[in-house]
Symmetry: C2
Amino acid sequence: MASSTDGHRGKRPTITDIATAAGVSRGTVSRVLNNERWVSESARDAVERAIAETGYRPSSTARSLRGRRSHRVAFLINEGVDRLFADPNFAVLLQGISDALRERGSSIVLLMAGNQAERDHAVEFVEDGAVDGLFVISWHQDPEVVARIERTGIPLVSAGEPPSAAEVSWVSADDKEGAALATRYLLSLGRRRIVTIAGPDRGPSGDQRLAGYTEALSGEVDPRWIEVGDYSQASGAEAMLALLDRVPDLDAVFAANDVMAAGAIEALRQAGRRVPEDVAVVGFDDSTAATSVVPAITTMRQHFDVICKTAVELLTERIDGSPPRHVVVPTELVIRESTSS
Amino acid sequence: MASSTDGHRGKRPTITDIATAAGVSRGTVSRVLNNERWVSESARDAVERAIAETGYRPSSTARSLRGRRSHRVAFLINEGVDRLFADPNFAVLLQGISDALRERGSSIVLLMAGNQAERDHAVEFVEDGAVDGLFVISWHQDPEVVARIERTGIPLVSAGEPPSAAEVSWVSADDKEGAALATRYLLSLGRRRIVTIAGPDRGPSGDQRLAGYTEALSGEVDPRWIEVGDYSQASGAEAMLALLDRVPDLDAVFAANDVMAAGAIEALRQAGRRVPEDVAVVGFDDSTAATSVVPAITTMRQHFDVICKTAVELLTERIDGSPPRHVVVPTELVIRESTSS
DNA sequence: ATCGAGCCTGGGATCGATCCCAGGCTTGCC
DNA sequence: GGCAAGCCTGGGATCGATCCCAGGCTCGAT
C-alpha cells in the first residue's frame, strides 16, 4: 500500500530483500528470475509473490557487471542529425533495427559523431565498454572513427558495404544487380535512350548502382548520359535538366534513388515531357517518396525488414565471437505509373 | 607493441592491473582517476604511465553499480520514427540536448514507444534503472507511458508544457506571448484583416499560439478567420485556400509554424496574391523551412540552444533531488521578406 | 540396509570500480 | 623530546546481481 511512496523515498528492493521476504536464498531467487531448473514449486511461488508485492526488478547494471554484457548497442551517426533525418531510409533502418533488437533484449544508444568533440566522446564511450557492439550506416561513414572503434575490438556492423577494407560484417541490398534489373526492365519496354542520375561519387551504393546500369547497357554508355546528383530532390531536378539539354531525345531515366526520381519527374513536367509516355522513370529504394508523387514511381524495393533482421543477426554473431561476414539481399522491381500507363 | 592483439584476445585491464603495474594500490589509482587530493607526484606519474601503456579505461558498468548513477538519459519517442523525423524541431532538440548532455558526461538512449510492445519495453527499461532520467517531447506525449514512468520515481523532463497536470519539470518557448508579438507586429504594419492557421487542437503549444493571436486582437476574432492545420506543408496550403475563400480581403496570415506558413505562401501565389505586398505572412519556430522558401519567412525564433541547456539543467536538478519546476523562454521576432519588401 | 543418482537449496566468491578508515610518515610548534 | 595536524597509502567492505560447489534430501535399485 505504501508502494507509491516507497518507489520515491525508500530504496529499491534488491535480490537479497526478495530472498528474505520469500524465506529463501539469493541463489534461489536468481534461479527463478532466470527460469533455471531445480526450483521447487513452493519456492517459485514464494519468490514470485514477493516480486509481485514489492515490484522488484533486477538491476540491469549489476547484471551487466557480472555478466559482461551490457545488452546495449550503439547507433553511430556520422553527421549532423538534421541531414541524417532528411534521409527517409534512415528512419526505416532505425525502426527496423530497434524492433529486431528489442526481441533480443537489447536497447539502442544514439552516438552522434558529427563533429570532433562528438567523435571523441563516442570513441571514449565505446572504450568504456558501455555497449556490446554498434551499427554504422555506410554512406555516412567516417573512416577515422571506424578505425578507432575497430581498435577497441568491439564488434561493428555496417548497413551497406563499408568504403574501407575494414574487417567488419555488413549487410546490403544488391545495388548493382538491382540497378541492372531496373535498366533491363526499361530496355524490355522498348526504351533505348536510357540516361541515369547517379548518386554521389564516393558512396559505395551509388557506385554500385551506376555499375549495374552500365552493365545492363553492355558497358557501352555515352558519358553524356550520366549525371551525378546528391540524393536530394533539387539535385534530381537539376540533373534532369542537364540531361535533357545534352540528350534531347532521351526516353527513359534511371535515378539512383526515389527522391531524385521525384525531382526528375518535376523537371520533366516543366520541360513539357509526359511521364511515362515520353519518358519512363525508375527510382530506387521504394521509399515513401515513391508513392507520394504523381505519377507514382516505379522503383527497386529494398527489403529493409530483412536487412534489419540480418544486421542484428550479424552483430549478435560477432558479439558471440564469430568472424565477420557479409550478406547481400536481393532487390525487387515494383512497377508503378512512372513507367507504364 | 602487442596492444592491438591484446585488445582483441586478452582481457581488458582492470584497476587492479594498473595498480600492480604502477606498484601502488587500487585506492591510489582510483584517486588519480578521479583527480582527488592526497596523491604524491611520483605515484600519480607511475599510475598515469601505466594507464597510457595499457590503454586502460575504467569500466562504466562497475562505476554505475558503485556510484548509483548510470550517466545515461533516455529520449522517449512516442510515435513512429518516420513521423517524428519529419519534424524539423525534433532534430534540433535532439542535437541540442545531446550537446548539453555530453558536457555533463551523459549519453542518450533512444526509447521508442510507438506501439504497445515498444511501450512495455520502454517502461521495463526504465524500471530496471538503466537510465537516470528521461526527456519527452510534449507534443507527442502519451499519458499512459508518462504515468507509468512517473510511478517508477525516475525524473522526467518535458520539452514543451505537458498536457497532463503531471508533476514534471518542463521548459518551453513562450508560445502565447510569441504569437501575440507576431500579431502585434502585423498590426504595426497597418494590416487589419489578420487571419491565422492554428496548430492541431490538442497540442499545448498550438493552443497557446492561438490564444496569443486572439489576445493581440483584443479578443474579438471572427471564428471564420481561424483555420486549423496539422503542422504539415500540405495542411498549410489547404487552410490558406479555405481562408481565402471565407475572407477574400485578408491582408495578413499568422501561421502556427513555418512549415504551414510555407504551404500558405505556395497557396497564396497560386491564388495570384503577392507576398508580402498583398498578404503578409508570419510563421513560428525559425526552422530551416523559414529560409528555404522564397520569400524567406518572417517568424518567431525559438531559442533552442537555451531551451536545450535548460532542459538538461532541469533534469540534472531533479536527479539530484530537487522538486520539479518549469521555465518559459522568450521568443524573438525575426523579420524577413514575407512581411517587408 | 546401503549406495548412487537426481533434485533442491544455501551461501561464498566474483565482476570492477569507489568509499572510507586505519595507520605510517612528515612537519611544525611548544 | 613530545604531540598534534596534515599528507599519503593500503586494503577491507560495498554496490547487486550470477556462478558454482558443497551438502542435504528423496527415491529406486541392489
